[in-house]
């Protein structure tokens, strides 16, 4: 008996419908109502009937929205496969990857990633001084928000890399440049470098404009509903719409070295990593897809904080480790750039959609339906977050696995 080397199976999944409501503060709306609107639009986008959906995956249950059972019951869905992740933008990529895995394995035919997010005011800091929350809020010392974790990680990054903090302006300005032409974005007013430089250092070294638009409690304050429908590859081919293939993915990484709002080593609980470089784990989705960073036409990333864009570009090899501050320019990652980043405007300007706004946008881009934001000849898109998760998407005629 010969034992052959194990090869991971290919994903056989595609996005066949996607929609997001306008992002903003909608006092009259409920999370279920926002979800209903997004679902209706995504079904129309896909050409599917609601009754064809048979799987449900989501990451933003209570307290951001409703848990899976409430959404499924309220909207009359029927699912033979459900999964719900921790309520955090960190798990947006993993939710979509789980949907893709489920249809590949035949656990369901059409998995809907669906929810409405209705932000509530209030909520207070954790009481612990040692951060039972994984990203280590230390409330009694005034480290009360993940904004502070991001500020701490960024300061450490600046010290290790010698990066010029002021270069971060280009990340924020490029995001806004993209958002200006996205009618679904919340912050669409053009932004100047002078306005950026006048933005208060709310948590020095982070300016207010370096952060997603947050409320008084440090949490996202905008509402939205989002829906992404994932189908098995052969079923996707039977629909009229051009499918967007999910060709490979990898999950969020976790260890004592992970910092959650920074690259590994930049957290506050005794991390030892001093110099970051991409690992085999960071590049495994590329490897499985037979693609490299150079093949990516548009890069999408979790950008609740502008430094996370620098760090994610480094994590997936789009620029050399420690060099992102020099590599990134407003032109390079902005509209018409050689590597446009978050063409929806990102969390920084579209508003905090946890990444679902990015997923809807990449679907439009790879279908060639992004209007004034369309990236010419866009064939490969990556979702790659500082948390280590990555998904690779290709347009229909660019399937790499044959």
């Amino acid at each position: 008996m010969t034992i052959s080397a194990w090869e991971p199976p290919h994903l056989n999944a595609a996005i066949v419908g996607a929609a997001i409501t306008p992002v903003g503060i909608w006092p009259e709306e409920t999370s279920v109502g926002l979800a209903a609107t997004a679902l209706t639009e995504a079904l129309a986008d896909s050409g599917l009937e609601k009754s064809q959906l048979d799987g449900y995956v989501w990451n933003l249950g209570r307290p951001s929205g409703e848990d899976y059972d409430a959404v499924v019951a309220a909207l009359g869905l029927k699912a033979r496969f459900v999964a719900q992740f921790w309520t955090h933008g960190r798990f947006t990529g993993s939710a979509l990857l789980t949907a893709a895995t489920a249809v590949t394995m035949g656990l369901a035919d059409y998995v809907v990633c669906l929810g409405g997010v209705k932000r509530k005011t209030g909520g207070g800091p954790a009481a612990s001084a040692f951060g039972e929350a994984p990203y280590g809020d230390v409330a009694r010392y005034g480290m009360t928000s993940f904004i502070h974790d991001a500020a701490m990680a960024f300061q450490s990054y600046l010290a290790i890399t010698g990066a010029d903090r002021d270069r971060l302006a280009d990340v924020v300005l490029a995001a806004r440049d993209h958002a200006v032409s996205n009618e679904l974005a919340w912050l669409r007013t053009p932004l100047s470098i002078d306005e950026y430089n006048a933005s208060p250092l709310a948590a020095d070294p982070l300016r207010l404009l370096d952060c997603f638009p947050f409320g008084a409690n440090g949490s996202p304050q905008n509402d939205y509903g989002a829906c992404v429908i994932v189908a098995r590859g052969d079923l996707a081919q039977q629909l009229d719409r051009e499918p967007v293939h999910i060709v490979a993915g990898q999950g969020v990484q976790a260890s004592r070295e992970e910092a959650y709002f920074g690259l590994p080593g930049l957290g506050i609980f005794g991390q030892t990593t001093e110099e970051f470089a991409p690992t085999d784990w960071d590049l495994s989705a590329f490897q499985r897809a037979g693609l490299t960073a150079a093949d990516v036409d548009i890069f999408f990333t979790y950008d609740a904080f502008a430094p996370l864009v620098w760090m994610a570009l480094e994590r997936f090899g789009h620029c050399p480790p420690g060099e992102a501050s020099k590599w990134v320019t407003r032109d390079r990652i902005g509209p018409g750039g050689t590597l446009p980043v978050n063409t929806n405007g990102g969390l920084l300007s579209q508003g905090h959609t946890a990444g679902w706004g990015h997923m809807v946008e990449l679907t439009k881009q790879l279908r060639g339906e992004a209007g004034g934001r369309q990236v010419e000849n866009a064939a490969v898109a990556q979702w790659g977050a500082v948390f280590g998760d990555s998904l690779l998407f290709t347009k229909s005629d660019h399937r790499s696995d044959g």
């Binding site: 207070g124 009694r140 005034g142 009360t144 928000s145 990680a153 010290a159 004592r256």
Partner: protein
Amino acid sequence: VSPEQEFWEHVAAGNVLFQRCTACGVLRSAPRAACHNCLSREAAWEKAPVSGKVKSFFVVNQAIATTLEVPYTVVHIDFGDAVRLTANLLGDGPPPSVGMPAKLVIGERDGVPLPQFERTTP
């Protein structure tokens, strides 16, 4: 009592103590119920190091869900061997910088003692 409760009982008595794993000898700053290195449940408390260096810091100029008066500074201090503690930097002086020495003291907030840091005067 949980390790964290025990930590605060020691602080109330005027001592900042860290756990050292009695099985593998690793010192840990955040009090935990098991050793992250060898999983041993056994640990002994010992006096925390006093001198460290600023590994990172930030300055809060806009209060978020806190009654602390802004601006205030949060420092992450490295004692060596990946033993670290996060607290406020007390006292006046120039803004901190990464690598700057600092010393552990017991301060208080609302009448409750807690570990804090001060600049080290040369």
